[in-house]
Symmetry: C2
Subunit: 361 residues, 2 copies
């Protein structure tokens, strides 16, 4: 008996609804691509999603190599634009309902970097009119202390988002802490049910983790086509690597996840059109890891000693910027790239949550 | 200021505990590899996990190409061995507690393939001494009818696993149905909380979906090293593709997921040491898609017309077997490869569940 051969193209025709197939042909069409991106509950703000031309005004490095222009994405500028739209929506909510979104942050211990991150988040909340509350707990507190703090916020109707600043001191069971956050207020998207719903096709998580959500927002706003492209995610953390790979897959990229056991990571990365690096290893990704014209999103923010800086240290990305900027078509700097987007996405998730809870559109 | 360069190797040394690093050096050592595999709640039966030499007795095709022997994995034989061990454990439980594991199956509609699958599962239960109950519902039933059937089994203390045979008729909301299965009895592992816990590093799902679990079991039993190897999963279904990619990542493979939007899938697949194909497209994976010496696990079971067969049709895999068998080092046939393993893993999950609920070790 002869072989039954069904080509991949026939398979596509059979399996992909006509609308999607049609959109698939709109290669390079930014509006087509944005419309086509799978709907994400946490990215459903039309005022944030609409394609903007703001990235045109971002400082760009023009270079001669390969006659290509590298766009350095200004995360600060883009996040400011998003934040101003969130602020407008918050004002609208206050006017209409007499209520504003509320974010509760729980900070355990005295880590300087965590304190800085929490301070930045609180300041960002204030700026857009989101109410914020911080509960600080001592390093040696018990897991029940953290859980109790969470429970109080779970019950508080003025709070729409609860965030536990990670990492926790080692003696605290992260799983027990994160599971205490009620699903409807899990604005970090770290609850396993939110992660499961992010992974499962046809389901929608209530929240998408802020950093990977910011990465995708940067890619889409820069006109990077994701569908069908090869994407490499470096790092498998629950906070960035895992949800970034799931999000890129939702946008129909062909995703490879690279980690410490990967053989020849440089070779695999050098074939990718999109690189999202979240390994936490300064200068891991060298220029020769990058395919010419690739989009490079650097999530790394590792503190490294630097006597020249005010605090004696600076934040270093995973990507060797000086080398990569000569090869990539789009790149994010550290600091000032993904970082500000993470905070903007947190505000966005908190606003989304308040809108859902208060039935405000 | 000079660049701070941390090599990947240094990163490994910093991040990977000594025990794992030591085991990482045991390349090709099967026992080392099995010990090293991340613990999975659903794969914790020592009598199933212990490396066995059964695959040595599997009929193998010896061929001259590249002086390499291709092992054709006999899923029936391997699953029989697993089932006999499950049967022994069930007898032990019956003797010790006077109770046996119980599986409830819900079948909606008249699909012939679904009826066959359910019949096979029930027969397998009987064979190992697991009690089974089947609820059949008409095609046009309401979602509440299915939910009510599930609720009854949720409350029934003699039932330790509940399985809803998929696919459901189109008018029924799969999400609403699957979410009704209580987490502790979700032996299919399709609940989003189980999937989230499978995805999140450091967490353990109560159950791992049966088919991908069977694929990994086949790989490990055949001595295929997974850690650090390039693996390609073809297909993104919630039942196979997604959990297979998550499982392979747990075993530290470098995983790429291929789907209908992937460009040059044959080129990407041809670089993989391990191929798990679950696209449902007969003969999609041709011989030239396979890297010489790769392990090929074919999950496809698409009914194709065949007047020569008793029922007028036969099940076809995704892999063009006649071509692939000449290139791969290990391959599963269709039928008789992954299929019987899926049923064995379902029994395994049901036994695990009963052991956990009845506190029996």
């Amino acid at each position: 008996m002869g072989l039954v051969t069904v080509t991949w193209t026939n398979y596509l025709k059979k399996r992909i609804p006509l609308r999607i197939r049609f959109l698939h042909t709109l290669k390079g069409n930014q509006i087509g691509q944005i419309l086509m991106s799978p709907p994400l509950a946490s990215l459903d703000l039309p005022d944030i999603w609409s394609p903007i031309s703001s990235c045109r005004s971002i400082p760009a490095i023009h270079k001669s190599f390969n006659e290509q222009t590298t766009v350095v994405l200004d995360g600060k500028l883009i996040s400011m634009e998003i934040r101003s739209k969130i602020a407008a929506k918050v004002r609208q909510m206050k006017k209409g309902l007499g209520k504003v979104p509320g974010l509760a942050v729980i900070l355990v211990g005295q880590r300087r970097d965590s304190q800085t991150y929490v301070r930045n988040k609180i300041m960002a909340c204030e700026e857009v009119g989101i109410k914020s509350l911080v509960t600080e707990l001592p390093t040696d507190c018990a897991v029940t202390d953290v859980q109790n703090a969470i429970m109080r916020f779970n019950k508080d109707p003025s709070i729409h988002g609860i965030l536990v600043q990670l990492p926790l001191p080692q003696h605290l069971d992260e799983e027990k802490v994160l599971d205490a956050v009620c699903l409807e207020k899990d604005v970090d998207g770290f609850h396993p049910l939110n992660m499961g719903n992010l992974a499962i096709r046809g389901r929608e998580p209530l929240f998408t983790p802020c950093t990977p959500k910011g990465c995708i927002e940067l890619l889409i706003r820069s006109g990077v086509e994701i569908m069908g492209k090869k994407a490499v995610v470096i790092g498998t953390s629950n906070i960035v690597g895992l949800p970034a790979s799931l999000l890129l897959q939702r946008h129909h990229a062909t995703v490879t996840v690279i980690h410490a056991f990967t053989q020849n990571p440089e070779q695999i990365t050098s074939e990718a059109d999109i690189v999202v690096s979240a390994a936490g290893v300064p200068n891991l990704v060298r220029g020769n890891w990058i395919k010419p014209g690739a989009a490079v999103i650097d999530v790394g923010t590792t503190p490294v000693e630097d006597p020249g800086c005010e605090d004696g240290y600076r934040l270093a990305g995973d990507v060797c910027y000086e080398e990569a900027v000569k090869v990539a078509s789009i790149i994010t700097p550290v600091p000032g790239g993904v970082g500000p987007m993470t905070v903007a996405m947190l505000l966005c998730n908190t606003l989304d949550s308040a809108k859902r809870m208060l039935n405000f559109s």
